[in-house]
Amino acid sequence: MNSPSIEAVNLSKRYGSFPALSNLNLKIEGSKCVGFLGPNGAGKTTTLKIFTDMIRASEGRALINGIEVHPNKKKALESAGALIESPEIYPSLTPREALSMVAELRGLPKGERRKTIEDAVAEVKMEEWLDKKVGKFSKGMKQRINIAAALLSDPEVVLLDEPTTGLDPRGMAEVRDIVKSLKKRNRLIFMSSHLLNEVQDICDEVAMIDHGKLLVYDTLSNVTTRFSKDSGNVIEIEFLRDIDYQSVNKNIASLANVNSAERIDSRRVRIKFSGGAPIQERLLSDIVTMKIGMISFHSPTSALEDTYLNLIKDTL
């Protein structure tokens, strides 16, 4: 049938006179992962909370699969799973019980509940803890259960607010894999995150927001080519010894195809160059032959980070 969708129409939220979200218009449709980026206080959580009817919009509408979340919360959220701001589970319940509650509320068929819960808990690698009380869990363990709860009913639309906060590196990687597998199953994932490499890794599109206003919503590649001023050709070099301005200017900046070379600190230099991978290869061998103590040669920031830093100038 229809592909999953979420839509914000002139969505605004004011706290007193403070505009936490201003006139957000955003329509996301189809099976994909959309990263929701923006600095602290930009309005990401606010947006996601309106979509789950946790807070009420001051103006505008939020729709999930074409159904307005307020006042049709029950119907709208039927096909959505959400994890917003790490909720707490009743400490005396076990993951099995907490997830049973969700399963019952969402009407999972009785005969499937047990297996569905066990699978969901296995997916977040918490099988060992299935029948232990949540009260003693660490932050990351609770977050894993929260992720399992959000995905339990295999919802078409998945809303995640910084889902990997509190997770260990392996946990983060596992969540990335879970999200990737969701995409393959025709799911729409809308996910806020501060981890740009995570977004670059799993998302197809990004929406960037700052001061409650949407700056851009486009595919990852369009966004990076449009807004990344260096078009990706940046390289960072690290030296074993301190390096002086002179050798940077004289030796590196004068190499063919190099547009600029600037010292980041005493042992690191950032080079911007034009041309593609062949030029990059040549630059590397050139600098090696200079024998000035280069020990590493790598892309300093992701294209997305570059874009982000260009679009979002000031913090708060």
Binding site: M54, L77, E78, S79, E85, P87, M101, R106, L108, D154
Partner: protein
């Protein structure tokens, strides 16, 4: 559960959202699971048992004449004397932070983003608190009856059952009230404190002041309505009476049964509606 072809999802799973009523049942069920494992439930039960044990020992040892004169007198003193305290205690323990705690501990955030009405959460939790409190009330009543049967045999005066029913109505009203109050606050301890002060002191104080100084019937107080629980255990049922002369006249007001039922029902209905409305509008910020 039947296989539904109307499911919009492209997923293979078939699931039909349960009715709001059955979602209320689910919330109640897990609320009770949580209660039964909580320290609070046992502390309260222990308090109820200690009060009952104290009464059992004291009555057994001293055999106070007032207790022993008739079985109705016995239940009046035993049951009528402490049941409102037991009810208030349950109301404070279970209702005092029922909603505020969901915000403070962020447990409400776990449920609220699911496809169920906010009212289903509120009502489900309310029913859970009611059932847990009823267990307490039942234990207290059972021990009272056990003692009564020991002294007076199986002829339990019908007034006791009426009184228990009124006690239940009072419990319902108290929980409606405490839930409403707890939905006004974001902090557990403050909402527990406020409801405790109200029920343990403030209402009594206002009642005394209104009756003694303003000299009007305190029909607007829930505790005044609750007097039917004890009045029922008095034979004949007490009536409003005036004593003294001139400026020293003192009226002792007695709630009639219809008045009491009306007061308690009104408290429940009004606070339930207000509490629900507030919870519907509360923001999970």
């Amino acid at each position: 559960m039947s296989q539904s072809p109307t499911r919009l999802s492209s997923s293979t799973r078939t699931q039909i959202l349960p009715s709001s009523i059955s979602q209320v049942g689910t919330v109640t069920k897990y609320e009770l699971v949580n209660y039964f494992r909580s320290r609070r439930f046992f502390v309260l039960l222990v308090i109820g048992v200690i009060i009952s044990a104290l009464l059992t020992v004291l009555v057994g040892y001293y055999r106070p004449a007032d207790f022993m004169s008739s079985s109705l007198k016995f239940y009046y003193n035993w049951f009528g004397g402490s049941v409102t305290f037991i009810i208030i205690l349950s109301g404070i323990f279970y209702g005092g932070d029922a909603i505020s705690g969901e915000f403070q501990n962020k447990t409400g955030y776990f449920l609220v983003a699911n496809p169920l009405r906010r009212s289903a959460i509120y009502i489900g939790k309310w029913l859970g608190a009611l059932i847990a409190s009823m267990i307490m009330l039942a234990v207290f009543t059972a021990i009272a009856i056990g003692n009564g049967v020991y002294y007076f045999g199986l002829s339990i005066p019908y007034q006791l059952w009426v009184s228990v029913l009124f006690g239940l109505l009072y419990l319902i009203a108290v929980l409606g009230f405490t839930f409403f109050f707890s939905s006004l606050f974001k902090s557990s301890s403050i909402s527990i404190l406020v409801t405790a002060i109200l029920f343990l002191f403030a209402f009594m104080l206002i009642q005394t002041l209104v009756e003694g100084l303003v000299k009007i019937e305190p029909w607007f107080l829930i505790t005044y309505g609750a007097q039917i629980i004890t009045n029922t255990l008095i034979d004949p049922y007490p009536t409003t009476s005036t004593q003294g002369f001139g400026p020293n006249v003192f009226t002792s007001y007695a709630t009639t049964i219809p008045e009491g039922i009306a007061i308690l029902s009104a408290y429940f209905l009004i606070t339930a509606v207000l509490g629900l409305l507030i919870f519907e509008r509360r923001e999970f910020t």
